[in-house]
């Protein structure tokens, strides 16, 4: 028996998301169990199972933190642009 992680895609343009796991002897059974456990009512466009041992999570997740200030990469860095534009337009009038 092996643990299979279960993933779904809710609609054709949505990303694949994790929903949980099942314990099964092979891929076919894992797919059947995944369908019965998680999708009795929902109808995703795609269903995936992946053996947990084939997944490779990043262990040191602290490298995912920004480290230094990277606010210039965010849309909030440009807040107030509309006001800036209005001010310039008013001065030109």
């Amino acid at each position: 028996m092996a643990i299979y992680e279960v993933f779904e895609r809710k609609g054709p343009t949505e990303p694949i998301t994790h929903v949980g796991s099942v314990n099964a002897s092979d891929t076919d059974l894992a797919l059947v169990l995944a369908k019965e456990c998680f999708f009795r009512r929902e109808h995703p466009t795609d269903l995936w199972v992946v053996r947990r041992e084939d997944m490779h999570p990043l262990r040191e997740t602290d490298v995912l933190e920004p480290g230094t200030d990277k606010s210039y990469r965010s849309i909030e860095a440009y807040k107030g642009l509309a006001k800036k534009r209005e001010r310039i337009e008013a001065e030109l009038r």
């Binding site: 054709p12 343009t13 949505e14 849309i75 860095a77 800036k84 001010r87 310039i88 030109l92």
Partner: protein, 313 residues
């Protein structure tokens, strides 16, 4: 053979069904979509080059960091797009090699030199604005692997647009010399921007539109761009170098001087003012980094061999 399946495919897409990479598709659809995606991917990686030239010359540290981040984003977009294109049956290596050999295309606007910081404003605001108009329309494309990466690309491009608008507003609020810098850049870039959307075809002549891969015709996209950006250019006190440009209030459509389409044809077929230099840069970095790719493959092979050895022992 194939005709029945092709008819069924056409009927399905006309009912609004979507297409996945693994689905059966007519050869014309596959080839058309692959060519389109390859061109988009090429454009992202080639589009990073004109802006990269301005990283060392950015006026402040903040501008330097945000421009660097933007260039990184563009290269990242090309990676996402090459992956989507690869699934339609052409390897990444073949796409890179065709690009540097000048066999495949990239957007006309990246065939031009950048001459001043005003160009960075025009590229960031108006060229990214033009690209966003076309990309937003493609969020409703029927080739859904493309749509899924476009969602991410559009989110990042929206940030680039703000970055470009911010630089533009700074120049607009600046000294007469700063305003002149933007105006001069706009004058040079206007025709390439009009070219960017392509000539206006009858929809029946645009195969990808007929397959519902594209959702809007070139002229419709150009009209949307003009509608959104021309009033903003004017309200900042700048002018557009086209005396005929105006909105016809009766039809709601913009009237403009027809750009020279022969110029576009020449530029995108490898005869733009900066084509040779930019492709030279791309070729040089592809060649100089060949050893890195080879070393990675060799290291991967050795690791697999070790794993196989461990499993066998």
């Amino acid at each position: 053979m194939g005709d029945e399946r092709e008819e069924a495919f056409r009927a399905r897409v006309e009912r609004g069904h979507v297409v996945e990479a693994g689905d059966w598709m007519p050869e014309e659809y596959r080839r058309g979509v692959l060519k389109f995606l390859e061109m988009h991917a090429n454009s992202e990686i080639m589009g990073a080059l004109p802006e990269r030239e301005w990283i060392p010359r950015a006026p402040t540290l903040r501008r330097k960091m945000s421009l660097t981040a933007k260039v990184q984003d563009e290269v990242g977009h090309s990676q996402l797009l090459y992956s989507v294109a690869e699934d339609l049956g052409k390897s990444r290596e073949a796409m890179f090699e065709d690009l540097i050999a000048g066999k495949t295309k990239f957007h006309n606007v990246f065939h031009y030199p950048t001459q001043s910081w005003g160009d960075v404003a025009v590229i960031g605001w108006l060229i990214d604005g033009a690209a966003l108009v076309t990309q937003h329309a493609l969020l409703r494309s029927n080739y859904v692997p493309y749509v899924r990466v476009l969602k991410r690309i559009c989110a990042e491009e929206s940030l680039h647009l703000k970055h470009g608008e911010d630089i533009t507003l700074e120049l607009a609020a600046g000294t007469p010399a700063q305003r002149a810098l933007f105006q001069e850049a706009l004058n040079r870039w206007w025709e390439p921007i009009m070219h960017f959307f392509g000539p206006s075809y009858a929809p029946s002549n645009d195969a990808l539109l007929m397959w519902r891969f594209k959702t809007k015709a070139n002229e419709q996209l150009r009209q949307e761009f003009l509608d959104k950006y021309v009033p903003r250019i004017w309200s900042l006190g700048f002018t557009v170098p086209d005396p005929a440009l105006r909105k016809d209030e009766a039809t709601g459509r913009w009237v403009y001087t027809e750009p020279n389409w022969e110029t576009l044809k020449a530029v995108v077929s490898g005869h733009g003012p900066a084509t040779a230099r930019r492709l030279g840069l791309r070729r040089a970095s592809y060649e100089e980094h060949r050893w890195v790719r080879e070393a990675l493959v060799a290291a991967g092979n050795r690791r697999s061999a070790v794993e196989v050895g461990l499993a066998a022992s």
